[in-house]
């Protein structure tokens, strides 16, 4: 999740970092906060973290996807907190309902929580690979004997069904907004 490649103690956390799994290192790492990564993982600023390069290479998830999904989720999460605080401030100063820019921002923020949720699930599900149950059962060994065509059919079916529901949901959200504001 934090793309720490080499085992070490007092590991810093970099504010700007681009991991590259092909070289097993970060292609960019800037603005390290000393010992913070160690603290987050072990509870002590001098704690030791086992690096990704010291783990069995066939037991690593795709590092970049997990790394960026986690950042996408936390950045969006922070954005929501800031938006909420901004709303609180505007409410206190009585400008909440007249601040066009803020209200527009909120409207365009409607899809963001969904993206944050999906990114978060990516972190847990992809981050767990190649294990289905960590240390016990690999995903490849957990396959059922259901024919691939059946699985494909079910994926198409449920995706199509959810797509219909999504269209309906967007329609209802729009309707609710129009009903409440009287503005198209």
């Amino acid at each position: 999740m934090d793309a720490i490649w080499e085992t070490g103690s007092s590991v810093p956390m970099y504010l700007i970092q681009v991991p590259d799994s092909s070289t097993g290192s970060n292609s960019v790492q800037l603005l390290g906060i000393p010992g913070l990564a160690s603290f987050l993982y072990t509870g002590s600023f001098s704690g030791t973290i086992t690096g990704l390069n010291q783990l069995p290479q066939d037991e690593l998830p795709p590092v970049e996807i997990v790394f960026w999904s986690f950042r996408l989720m936390t950045i969006l999460g922070s954005l929501f907190i800031i938006e909420a605080l901004a709303g609180l401030y505007l409410h206190k100063s009585g400008k909440l309902y007249t601040s066009d820019k803020y209200l527009k921002l909120l409207m365009w923020s409607i899809p963001l929580p969904y993206i944050a949720i999906i990114a978060g699930w990516n972190v847990t599900e992809i981050g767990r690979q190649p294990w289905l149950v960590y240390g016990l059962l690999k995903t490849a060994n957990g396959l059922s004997s259901v024919p691939t065509s059946d699985v494909l059919l079910s994926v198409i079916l449920i995706s199509a069904f959810y797509l219909i529901l999504m269209v309906f949901e967007i329609y209802l959200i729009k309707k609710t907004v129009v009903n409440a504001t009287g503005v198209e």
């Binding site: 059922s144 079916l157 209802l172």
Partner: protein, 347 residues
């Protein structure tokens, strides 16, 4: 203190609980499914549609909890059966899932949107969802009673069309019609005005059809399904189950004819319960019976979880199931008033 609860005893207790939970699900959801099955046909206008929706609105979610409990209970008590069931019946379970989502969405959104096209689509969504749920479960359980094509080593040779044999189809249609009857009688009891009268008239005919189908289904089970009678021969007291099923179906016809909606409703539920239990009693000790050869089936002792899991869950079930029953009964008393022909929805 609980030394008498050996692993085998616990497995038998959980089989019994499994039958009870599925039985409860079948009867409590039958009227919400039935209301959905009837909605596009007996409601003439929006007022009546909302009457139907309100008659099941506060209840359907609680009813579905029993399905979650039944499936979750299968997973926790008999994990082997859970994995086999969802592997063997992958596509039917998929249809069930879509039915559940469609039903839930439709019934909850029905009164939230005035656009007539959307109302129409949701009414039909409610129908299709309810039909999928009742048909798939009816067909699935008929197949459980008949046995799945499980060969040596637990290899499944069945096909999707193979699941829709005549016996399974009768089971599916029976469950759909019993749910429809249940829904009609519920609407009859729960609403007022023209809708209630129409539903009552419908139930007069449908209880008769159900009685005939119950007789056909039970006769087919006892005469045409291999191994169905073995438990009955060993324990003749079990014959009470099908006898009670038929008796309850007869009572449903009788009460429906006399326009006594509530006793007719209860009789129909009992008929449904005893039909299901007649089938479940026949498969013991198997959960997934094999139609190829009995010894290939998966029995409760082989499928049961560890002794510790079963005991912990038994403790949890003894405490929590009564709580669930109490709060669900409370919901029924809370929304006990009959639904008049008013347009507003106040919850």
């Amino acid at each position: 203190m609980f030394d008498f609860l050996t692993h085998n005893t616990l497995a038998v207790i959980w089989f019994f609980l499994w039958c009870v939970i599925w039985g409860v699900y079948f009867i409590v959801d039958s009227f919400s499914l039935g209301a959905g099955l009837l909605a596009p046909f007996i409601a003439t206008d929006k007022v009546q549609r909302i009457q139907i929706q309100r008659s099941v609105g506060p209840f359907w979610g609680g009813n579905e909890v029993w399905l979650i409990l039944a499936v979750g209970g299968t997973f926790a008590a008999f994990p082997l059966v859970f994995s086999k069931m969802f592997t063997f019946l992958y596509l039917p379970m998929m249809l069930l899932l879509i039915g559940l989502v469609a039903r839930g969405i439709s019934v909850e959104y029905l009164h939230k949107e005035d656009n007539p096209r959307i109302q129409k689509a949701l009414t039909w969504g409610w129908f299709v969802g309810s039909l999928l749920i009742s048909l798939v479960l009816g067909v699935a359980f008929a197949n459980f009673f008949k046995g799945l094509e499980i060969a040596l080593g637990g290899v499944y040779n069945g096909t999707l069309p193979g699941l829709f044999g005549p016996y399974a189809l009768i089971g599916g249609v029976l469950f759909v019609l019993m749910s429809t009857t249940s829904g009609a009688l519920w609407i009859n009891v729960k609403t007022e005005g023209a809708l209630a009268a129409k539903a009552g008239d419908l139930a007069k005919k449908s209880t008769l059809i159900v009685l005939v189908l119950v007789l056909v289904y039970l006769a087919y089970s006892f005469m045409g399904i291999e191994g169905f009678t073995s438990n009955y021969s060993a324990t003749p007291a079990l014959y009470l189950l099908p006898v009670l099923a038929v008796a309850a179906a007869v009572l449903a016809v009788f009460f429906a004819k006399k326009d006594r909606g509530f006793p007719a409703f209860c009789s129909n539920l009992l008929a449904l319960l005893f039909v299901v239990q007649s089938g479940l009693a026949s498969i013991y000790p198997y959960l997934l019976k094999s139609s190829v050869s009995l010894e290939y089936g998966i029995d409760i002792f082989e499928a049961a979880s560890s002794h510790m899991t079963l005991s912990i869950m038994l403790g949890a079930a003894v405490v929590l199931v009564p709580i669930v029953i109490i709060y669900q009964l409370w919901v029924y008393t809370l929304f006990k008033e009959t639904i008049k022909e008013a347009e507003q929805v106040d919850y």
